[in-house]
């Protein structure tokens, strides 16, 4: 195995070294973000994700943020496992009645200041699932929402732009409770 890994280091990379290089829009975002993040928070932003009942396509695109093309962490964002370490609650899906309490509890467990981002059409108002007996509505039906990122699902680039927009805001509008 060591041989394989060494070869991996010595040989030409399996894929192009910088797949993101051809993406001017991404490069610009990155530049903007690193300035804003430092100016507002002086550090990176920790995101806790909760799926409140999504169809799972929104999650696929959240996962894509971590691939080498987008490489979310270089923008100063990282997904964290515990709500206690999180600055941002990123919620996908309509809020099902069966998930409402779990969403509320995750929010309550986060220390202030905190922001809530609702990603995807469902998270805005229940989307295509609105009106069902099993769906409470959008994320705002359960926790206060600071920002909505549109799309079904939002593409990774749209998600990045949304997160940037959040960072651009003064930290003063965060929920302090």
């Amino acid at each position: 195995m060591r041989k394989t890994l060494l070869q991996g280091l010595i040989r030409r990379p399996l894929t192009e070294p910088a797949p993101q290089a051809g993406d001017p829009e991404l490069a610009e975002l990155a530049a903007q973000l690193s300035q804003t993040a430092r100016a507002t928070l002086g550090r990176s932003l920790a995101i806790r994700h909760v799926d409140a009942g999504s169809c799972n396509a929104c999650e696929l695109e959240l996962h894509a943020l971590g691939n080498a093309f987008y490489d979310l962490e270089r923008f100063g964002f990282k997904f964290v496992a515990s709500p206690r370490h999180a600055d941002v609650l990123l919620v996908t899906g309509p809020v099902t009645r069966n998930m409402a309490e779990a969403l509320r509890r995750t929010y309550d467990a986060m220390p202030a200041p905190k922001w809530v981002v609702a990603a995807g059409g469902c998270a805005l108002d229940g989307g295509i699932f609105a009106g069902s007996y099993a769906v409470l509505g959008g994320v705002a039906a359960v926790v206060p929402v600071d920002l909505h990122i549109p799309g079904c699902p939002p593409s990774p680039l749209t998600l990045l732009k949304g997160l940037l927009a959040l960072m651009m805001r003064a930290p003063g509008d965060a929920e302090e409770s």
């Binding site: 394989t4 894929t15 909760v50 799926d51 009942g53 396509a57 099902t96 295509i128």
Partner: protein, 491 residues
């Protein structure tokens, strides 16, 4: 399954229903679905030898039906769901706990004779496990990561899992309720959002059921474009999950490389069809977007790229002893259980069950395409990974044939109204396994009832079996290697 409707429908009485339960228990047929409807229950039965599907329907005017789960365990959760949604009592069922209904809806039996309810929640009675030194570990519904919600209750003895019990239903959105009375177009949009990772497969299954009901045959080009999208979806999911499984085995390098390949597939899909996941691009009557020559060229270069980049990754997996150490012999699903549950997809095929709806039902265009269905018998994480690796290669082969043989011509036909009630059925192979869609249209083309059965119904229960005796720390790896859908199951 369009045109000549190669499935049978049969009304049965309670005695015949009980006989069906016996046949299933004896392994003479496979349960492919079980669902409620106004005043009746339906069972989809598969004869694997003959590749034949039958729908057996039992009227239950008194709100009761003989439990199939009493004889045949794979029916258990489906019966619990029927009782939650319709209020029908499966008489003799071995488990009378609610399943999808967490007592949080403001209604009881939402698809049947419904009554108002307070929706105050309930304390779920997990099965007890007794023994010295046993402890419980509750996990979820919110997990540490970007994962769908569900609850896992482990009983462990030290590090070893003695029992896992799943509790699902958190993402239940009441989709079948929304579909009742919807137009075909709206219902198709909902079908494409039952499990987003399988949006193409679900859209095909729904469209085929509609077309079967209306007796329509779509143009050959539309069949091929559907299969093209389906194979792109399969490749994207397999690539993403192969990487993710390796990541759960602490091998991030594979994850990074597979993630790049997956992203390339999604970008090419977007270039070809205007959506990274190709959502809403398969529609009843055909496809919504045609493929242009630049799309064909892009796909050919994508195939070349994957053929070049993927084999070294496979080799890396194969040669990395520390990785194999985690995946070989871990989370074994026995062939007997896979067969009993009619477990489909790579999970079933890694445990010796030779079934792929593309071959068995041979719906177009797969009847005219060449591909192999890889099957292994080991049933461990490693086998599930290898099936997916082999399937990537087969899907590339399929896409090549599709591009080579793509005829020109129309890509949609109009949906004609029939002026009478019609039923339609389809079984379609998604990346995860076979998806069953059954529906009834009224004469004006509105949805009367539509049921969509995710392959996960017959995989989730087996994850409980596969993890037994493994260490708790291997659960994420086993879970990812099954990769069941929460949303598809919860509906």
């Amino acid at each position: 399954m369009s045109g000549d409707q190669p499935w049978r429908s049969r009304a049965v009485d309670a005695k015949a229903w009980a006989r069906i339960a016996d046949q299933l228990a004896q392994g003479r047929r496979t349960l492919a679905g079980l669902w409620g409807d106004a005043g009746r229950v339906h069972a989809a039965l598969l004869d694997e030898g003959k590749s034949e599907l039958e729908i057996a329907t039992l009227a239950c005017p008194s709100g009761q039906f003989p439990s199939i789960a009493r004889r045949h365990a794979p029916a258990l959760r489906l019966e619990r769901a029927i009782r939650d949604l319709f209020g029908f009592e499966p008489v003799g069922a071995p488990d009378d706990r609610r399943w999808l209904d967490h007592c949080r809806w403001l209604v009881r039996h939402p698809l049947g004779d419904y009554t108002d309810w307070a929706g105050e929640g309930e304390t779920y009675a997990f099965l007890p496990a007794e023994g010295e030194g046993l402890h419980q570990i509750p996990v979820g519904p919110v997990h540490a990561g970007i994962i769908e919600p569900g609850h896992f209750r482990f009983h462990a003895n030290g590090e070893t899992v003695v029992r896992l019990e799943e509790r699902l239903g958190y993402t239940h959105k009441g989709i079948e309720g929304l579909m009742a009375g919807a137009s075909i177009g709206n219902a198709a949009n909902l079908a494409g959002r039952i499990s987003g990772d399988s949006t193409v497969a679900y859209s095909i299954a729904f469209a085929r059921a509609v077309e079967a009901a209306l007796g329509l045959e779509i143009p050959p080009r539309a069949h091929l474009l559907r299969a093209l999208m389906a194979e792109l979806e399969r490749i994207a999911n397999h690539l993403g999950d192969i990487g993710a499984v390796c990541n759960d085995a602490s091998f991030a390098l594979m994850h990074a490389h597979c993630g790049i390949l997956r992203e390339r597939v999604l970008r090419q899909s977007n270039d070809c069809f205007g959506h990274r996941l190709m959502m809403d691009k398969v529609v009843p009557g055909g496809v919504a977007t045609d493929l242009d020559p630049s799309g064909v060229a892009g796909l050919r270069s994508l195939i070349g790229r994957i053929r070049k980049d993927f084999p070294p990754l496979v080799e890396l997996y194969d040669e990395t002893a520390s990785l194999q150490d985690r995946t070989v012999g871990t989370g074994i699903l026995t062939a007997d259980l896979a067969r009993q549950y009619g477990c489909s997809g790579f999970v079933g095929r890694a445990s010796g069950r030779v079934f792929d709806a593309r071959k068995a039902i041979a719906y177009p265009p797969y009847d005219a395409l060449e591909f192999e269905v890889p099957v292994l018998i080991e049933g461990d994480v490693n086998a599930r990974l290898w099936i997916r690796i082999r399937e990537v290669e087969q899907s590339l082969r399929l896409i090549e044939q599709i591009l080579d043989g793509l005829p020109s011509g129309e890509t949609t036909i109009e949906l004609e109204k029939r002026g009478e009630v019609r039923e339609g059925l389809a079984l379609v192979e998604g990346f995860r396994g076979d998806i069953l869609v059954w529906l009834r249209l009224d004469g004006e083309g509105w949805i009367g009832r539509c049921h969509l059965r995710d392959p996960s119904w017959f995989q989730w229960p087996l994850l409980e079996a596969a993890i037994e005796g493994n260490i708790v720390a291997d659960f994420p790896l086993c879970n990812k290697s099954f990769n069941c859908s929460y949303s598809g199951h919860d509906l």
